[in-house]
């Protein structure tokens, strides 16, 4: 570690509670301070619940290049990238992936623009950043394509509360009561957003109910990315007469989230794009079997601890869920494998790889 630099500040476009990148940033700050660095977080958009822990980007103080490393937590295009580029401090970047514009721009045109901007900003930042980290090999490969000389994988610092907490008993009772009427429970956790393709889950559930269990249910937990896509998923479920079978509870507190993981029979992910997919790790850690579309970073996260789908049409997804639920021995074997695999992404493991990466990055060789 450099004997001179004792400060690593972080900058991030927006920060909010119950968000994987935001949680990662707070954990990173904790770890940096444990390593003996002074460390503050500066954001352009401060969501509710972060008061006193995050400062506005306009207050980012300047330091001489030898006195500070600046770590940019990147997941979207933002003027924060310009502030990061202009800062005289030495630069680190953590990449959580930017959802391709074509997957979101129909729904939220400004987000499509921010996505394109973000990818261009990464190309521009590449020569300025000697050392970057990414939370999956998929993301690291993208960074190399953008021109970054060094891109190392450090798993997301996952909020351990989601993995270990006791499930909320009232929520669990409600979910178990519904289950007592028959039918299995499908679960997906993630922002209700077009690239997460909740509508494909609704279509697959329609096929599954027609073929196997007409009382199966789908729980789509997560805060909506804008109202239009949420509205379309809701209208779509209504049009297939699934309004009482598809639940959209929004973002829920950790104990309630644990209740969903505990009562579900299968976690199904049909996302078109994932930079890592924290909920897959959470599902594995809670002993829930996983069926997921084989796209982007998903195979790197799930490995062979679940069923990776090469196709995503309703019949194929329904058949996959059915066969997995019927084959108890293979399912139990996958669950055991998932429990072991989740440990590879545990907070302790991620903290250790983050510590190693930061120690190397701020060493004199990258100064």
């Amino acid at each position: 570690m450099s004997t001179r630099t004792r400060r690593v500040d972080q900058v991030i476009p927006s920060i909010i509670e119950h968000d994987a990148v935001s949680n990662h940033t707070f954990e990173a700050q904790r770890l940096l301070r444990e390593l003996g660095f002074e460390s503050e977080i500066y954001a352009r958009i401060l969501g509710p619940g972060v008061e006193g822990r995050v400062r506005p980007i306009g207050q980012l103080p300047e330091y001489a290049s030898s006195e500070r490393w600046l770590l940019y937590q990147c997941s979207i295009g933002s003027p924060v990238a310009d502030a990061f580029a202009a800062d005289p401090g030495r630069k680190l970047l953590a990449y959580h992936n930017i959802t391709p514009a074509e997957l979101v721009e129909r729904w939220i045109p400004p987000l499509g623009e921010e996505s394109r901007l973000g990818r261009q900003q990464l190309v521009d930042l590449a020569p300025l950043v000697p050392f970057a980290i990414a939370d999956s090999e998929f993301n690291a490969a993208e960074l190399r394509d953008f021109g970054f000389a060094r891109a190392e994988v450090v798993s997301v610092l996952i909020e351990s509360a989601n993995l270990a907490m006791v499930a909320d008993s009232a929520s669990l009772d409600r979910l178990e009561l519904a289950k007592s009427d028959g039918g299995s429970d499908w679960l997906f956790v993630g922002q209700v957003a077009p690239h997460k393709a909740q509508h494909d889950l609704v279509a697959a559930l329609a096929c599954y109910r027609k073929a196997y269990e007409d009382r199966a249910r789908l729980h789509l937990v997560g805060r909506p990315m804008g109202s239009a896509y949420l509205d379309s998923v809701s209208r779509f479920a209504d049009s297939l007469d699934l309004d009482s079978a598809v639940e959209l509870p929004g973002s829920v507190p950790a104990p309630e989230l644990c209740a969903y993981y505990e009562s579900a029979d299968v976690f199904v992910c049909l996302s078109h794009h994932e930079g890592f997919c924290v909920p897959i790790v959470e599902a594995m850690a809670r002993g829930l079997s996983v069926v997921a579309a084989d796209v982007a970073a998903v195979p790197g996260t799930l490995g062979d601890a679940g069923v990776l789908l090469k196709r995503r049409d309703p019949a194929y997804v329904a058949a996959a869920v059915h066969e997995l639920l019927e084959d108890r021995a293979t399912r139990a074997s996958l669950v055991r494998r998932g429990l072991e695999r989740a440990k590879l992404f545990s907070l302790d493991a991620a903290r250790e790889s983050f510590r190693r990466a930061i120690t190397e990055a701020v060493s004199d060789s990258y100064a």
């Binding site: 129909r106 994988v153 379309s232 779509f236 297939l240 019949a315 293979t330 055991r336 992404f345």
Partner: protein
């Protein structure tokens, strides 16, 4: 630090049997569903239903935006005495247009 290409942690050493057989059964079961339960017409029907839902959902905010803009203009140009009658007329036109376009109000979903 892991080097390039070593980044994804290796799978844990838990014996796994049955996954290849499960994948084969998924293929054959999906084919059976295609033949007997879920046809290509079902795919088209569901896709159309989603496109209709999406189109309605995307139109709703635009309509709301236009409605606010129209209200601002109306406030400036319609005499106060004519406001109730104008409101009734707009209600009738709104109801008719909704009926014609098949747009439904999004229902709040309970948890």
């Amino acid at each position: 630090m892991p080097g390039e290409g070593q980044a994804v942690p290796s799978s844990p050493n838990v014996p796994l049997s049955g996954l290849p057989a499960l994948m084969e059964r998924i293929d054959s079961e999906a084919a059976r569903l295609r033949d007997l339960v879920w046809s290509a017409e079902d795919d088209v029907r569901v896709e159309l239903a989603y496109e209709q839902a999406a189109a309605s959902a995307l139109r709703a905010p635009l309509l709301a935006e236009r409605s606010v803009a129209l209200r601002r203009v109306a406030k400036r140009v319609i005499p106060k005495a004519l406001v109730p009658a104008t409101r009734r007329a707009v209600g009738v036109v709104d109801g008719l247009s909704r009926w014609v376009s098949g747009v439904r109000r999004a229902r709040p979903r309970s948890s």
